[in-house]
């Protein structure tokens, strides 16, 4: 957070403003220095360098901004072109007036500097200087003459009086100092008006050179702090007594008033000359300063143009990027707002829009999720249904199906999705009856379907698992607007149900037959026997024979009817099975032995599984099954050859259960193809005699034990009846019982 604030500060307007302000201050100081300010004069060069470097830094900053902007334009970044336009407008608006002001300022500056100089003033200053020179020249010549006189006086003075003479002469002349100097530069005598002055002023080498050249020297020299003095140096005339050449230096103070006036004239003249000489450099210098100010203003304005344009375009760029993000599906985009202007209002509106979009999207997702959950729930429910469900679209093409439909129709319907029933039946011929039965409903038009409403059809299929009876119901599906979008077909495999109903009906018939027919049979039989017993001996032979034959027939038929009624009675009898562990192999052997012993013409082969587990069953009922099957097999065997029967026991291990299988096979004609499924129904038989209840009873008993039974014609001839009984493990011994009782 702190780093971001620091970064914002560094890249913000603050530092640049401070920088420009400092440069401005520096330029003000430089301007003062240009105008001769003593305080900033020393800093002029430094200030110039600082300003130049500052301007270069600003120019670099602008260059970088320009480069960045052009790169953004090249990349087609949103807002870049608008920024270019705004920068151009800002720059033109700010630079043009600045340049105009610059041009006129330069003109005024040059004219202003030129106006400082006037020929008349220059002439007056020259004249004033010349006047001063003239006035001082007269006085100086007088002082030279006077000094030469003094020098002449000193020539003849003896050495010991020179100091006194020198002092007297100085006093008389009003000089501030007289010094007599020897040839080697040593001071012979000196007199000064200043008693504190110990070392007299010496003439310089240059003065001595001039003295040697012209014999005298006179000049206006500043002497230490004492102000302007007239220095006169003369050589003393040659003297016989003093062989060495001597010189006299006299310093005459210039009157204070005269000195001040001379100084004023001289300094004013000097200043004017200096100013006149500096006219061109001053102009250049001012122009330079003004140009620096101009550049600073320009650069600051250009930078401000960049900054302002960026600031103004930034929210629009954000909006553009935000819009792009929304277009790409990112509804979480929230833009930063600043200020209270119209753009901020726009940004707020954008943020509000994205919030609403995000909410709407979330709601849609929730709805989709709910729909998906609902769909999955329905799918789960449908997949768990034992009822087959198909949905067809408006064109009669398969849209969805459930697992039960796959199982019932024995078709992988998922692979058939999108096909019509007709197309499906081409790949799966056993579906032809279904397609034929439903064709009218599936191809019905929208209007007729609406008129028709729900429909119901019973369809018989002959599938790989045998004959199936399907109860189909159809309902048109309509969308929320009422338009027809397809239909749903629900179907159940009612084969077992019909079979059960049929079994129940036959049981009822058998029970009634047994009840209604058995009762009069005994009186009929007794009556016939009584007729025979009473009248057989009394009737003539011809009649008695007839009676005998007739009564015998009656008795035999009654017996036959009794047997039939008993059979019906057995079939209708409620199950009363006594379960215990039965060794099936032993049971088979027992039954087979009975037939082998009683009839040598019967060949019964057995193949018994050694690992057969005990079967929990009613041994008597199982024995009855075997009797019925052997009897059936014997009856099915061709009469011309010895009957041959093969009985086999198997232990079948399946993933979910273990089964004991008993197969009986005859070697007769086999089963007619149309009777494979109905062979176990009552009154269905291929024999000329018998009640037709044998296999029906077999099936009934097998089912009472929770098993299944079916018949198969063998390719090599003959037929097999296969029974499978579930082996109940010790852990769940009670449950099959319950199940069987329920059956």
């Amino acid at each position: 957070m702190a780093n971001q604030a620091l970064k914002r500060f560094i890249t913000g307007v603050g530092p640049i403003l401070v920088f420009v302000l400092l440069l401005l201050v520096s330029l003000v100081l430089m301007s003062n220095a240009t105008q001769g300010s003593a305080r900033f004069g020393q800093l002029y060069s430094v200030l110039l360098v600082i300003n130049a470097l500052g301007l270069i830094a600003l120019a670099a900053l602008i260059g970088w901004n320009l480069f960045t902007l052009l790169r953004q334009v090249g990349r087609g970044q949103p807002g870049a072109r608008l920024t270019v336009r705004m920068v151009a407008v800002f720059v033109i608006l700010s630079v043009t007036p600045v340049l105009v002001v610059y041009y006129f300022s330069l003109q005024f500056l040059h004219r202003g500097i030129d106006s400082w100089f006037d020929v008349r003033i220059e002439r007056a200053l020259d004249d004033a200087l010349e006047l001063s020179r003239t006035a001082l020249g007269v006085r100086m010549r007088e002082l030279l003459s006077h000094t030469e006189v003094v020098a002449g006086d000193l020539v003849d003075l003896p050495k010991e009086q020179i100091a006194i003479g020198l002092d007297d002469s100085r006093r008389l002349s009003g000089a501030s100092e007289f010094t007599l100097i020897g040839a080697n530069g040593h001071i012979i005598a000196s007199s000064s008006s200043d008693p504190t002055s110990i070392v007299p002023n010496r003439p310089s080498d240059a003065i001595l050179v001039q003295l040697r050249q012209s014999g005298t020297y006179i000049g206006l020299d500043p002497i230490g702090d004492a102000g302007l003095h007239v220095r006169v140096v003369v050589s003393l005339p040659e003297n016989v007594s003093t062989a060495e050449p001597r010189i006299l230096q006299a310093l005459y103070p210039v009157a204070e008033r005269t000195s001040t006036l001379a100084d004023t004239v001289q300094s004013t003249y000097g200043k004017y000359r200096e100013l006149a000489y500096l006219r061109k450099p001053l102009k250049t210098s001012f122009t330079l300063t003004l140009s620096l100010v101009l550049l600073l203003s320009l650069f600051a304005a250009v930078w401000a143009a960049f900054y302002s344009a960026r600031r103004m375009v930034a929210p629009l760029q954000d909006l553009a990027e935000g819009t792009r993000a929304v277009a790409d599906g990112d509804y979480e985009t929230q833009l930063r707002t600043s200020g209270e202007d119209e753009v901020s209002f726009l940004v707020e509106s954008f943020n509000d829009m994205t919030r609403r979009l995000a909410r709407a999207r979330d709601e849609t997702r929730r709805s989709q999720q709910q729909v998906e959950d609902q769909r999955r729930y329905l799918e789960t429910v449908l997949s768990q249904l034992s009822t087959g469900v198909l949905t067809l679209d408006e064109g009669g093409r398969l849209f969805t199906s459930n697992k039960a439909a796959n199982q019932i129709l024995n078709v992988d319907l998922l692979a058939e999705t999108g096909k019509t029933l007709n197309e499906m039946s081409e790949g799966h011929p056993h579906l032809h009856p279904l397609e034929h039965a439903l064709h009218a409903h599936v191809t019905a038009t929208d209007a007729s379907l609406r008129q028709q409403g729900d429909w119901r059809e019973e369809v018989n299929l002959l599938g790989p698992g045998g004959r199936q009876v399907l109860m189909c119901r159809g309902t048109p599906l309509s969308a929320s607007g009422g338009s027809f979008v397809g239909q749903v077909i629900v179907f159940d495999d009612v084969t077992d149900l019909i079979q059960a109903q049929r079994n129940a009906a036959w049981s009822e018939v058998a029970r009634r037959l047994a009840h209604e027919i058995k009762n009069p049979l005994t009186p009929i039989q007794l009556s016939a026997e009584r007729l025979r017993h009473k009248y057989l001996g009394k009737m003539p032979t011809r009649d008695s024979n007839a009676l005998d034959r007739l009564t015998r027939t009656i008795v035999q038929q009654v017996e036959a009817m009794k047997a039939m009624v008993n059979a019906f009675s057995d079939y209708a009898r409620a199950p009363q099975i006594q379960l215990r562990d039965v060794d099936v192999n032993e049971l088979v052997n027992d039954v087979v032995e009975l037939y082998r012993a009683s009839d040598s013409e019967v060949v019964i082969e057995t193949t018994l599984a050694k690992d057969l587990p005990p079967l929990e069953a009613d041994a008597d009922r199982l024995r009855q099954i075997l009797h019925n099957l052997i009897k059936n097999a014997l009856e099915a065997s061709p009469p011309e050859t010895p009957a041959r029967i093969h009985i086999e026991t198997l232990f079948v291990k399946e993933p979910s259960r273990d089964l004991v299988e008993i197969r009986t096979r005859d070697f007769g004609r086999g089963l007619p193809e149309n009777l494979t499924d109905d062979i176990f129904d009552p009154q269905v038989t291929t024999k000329t005699k018998g009640s037709g209840l044998g296999l029906a009873i077999v099936k009934k008993i097998v089912e009472e034990h929770g098993g299944v039974v079916w018949a198969e014609s063998q390719p090599q001839g003959g037929a097999s009846v296969i029974m499978q009984f579930p082996v109940v493990s010790g852990d769940s011994r009670s449950s099959p019982m319950t199940q069987r009782q329920a059956i």
Partner: protein
């Protein structure tokens, strides 16, 4: 003129580098230095320099040739004061490489400044020692050049500032002080070779 100059420790003089930058930044074309034959002659040259130990003080005697350019002379004639600097450095050898000044210790840095002015009233030239305040008047500019170029008995350094076991040497150069010119002239003076008057360093060992 003969006054003990102030002795200061080493001070960085960065102006040449700074002005090199200014030259490149302002992109001002400098005046051609070979435009006139006489301008080539302008410059300072140290003919001879030596030190002498007198009463515990090293005194400098030097003979320097000053040849001013026309621009400089014109400015002086027009009343622009011009300052000449005698730049002196006392260095102690570190015993590594004689020529490598970077390794030698700078013991003292002395600057003697002389300002040349004109006196229009007396039509003379004044040379003022800015260190001592002493002034000297010359009737002609040639006299001034001769007088300024003859440095005699300039008190340089107290002997006790030098270590007894050290090997010292002294180097001297003369240059025109552009910074003392009026501020409007300085930028152009820095950029013009006619104003950049400077002698080479003259170097000699200090005899003990």
């Amino acid at each position: 003129m003969h006054c003990l100059a102030s002795v200061e420790r080493f001070r960085v003089r960065a102006w040449p580098a700074v002005w090199l930058a200014v030259c490149s930044l302002l992109l001002v074309i400098t005046e051609p230095s070979t435009s006139a034959p006489e301008e080539i002659k302008a410059g300072f040259d140290i003919h001879d320099a030596r030190t002498e130990l007198v009463d515990g003080v090293y005194l400098l005697d030097a003979d320097i040739g000053f040849v001013f350019s026309d621009e400089t002379l014109e400015a002086i004639e027009n009343g622009i004061p011009v300052t000449i600097i005698l730049d002196m450095e006392v260095l102690r050898e570190r015993g590594l490489i004689w020529d490598n000044l970077w390794w030698d210790e700078k013991v003292a840095h002395i600057e003697a400044k002389f300002r040349i002015e004109t006196r229009p009233l007396s039509k003379t030239y004044l040379v003022r020692n800015l260190n001592s305040g002493e002034a000297q008047v010359f009737a002609a500019f040639d006299d001034l050049v001769a007088g300024l170029g003859k440095i005699r008995r300039f008190p340089l350094l107290d002997a006790h500032l030098l270590r007894a076991d050290g090997h010292y040497y002294l180097r001297l150069r003369a240059l025109l002080d552009i910074e003392s010119l009026p501020s409007p002239m300085r930028p152009w003076a820095y950029l013009s070779s006619l104003w950049r008057l400077e002698s080479d360093w003259y170097q000699w060992p200090i005899k003990r």
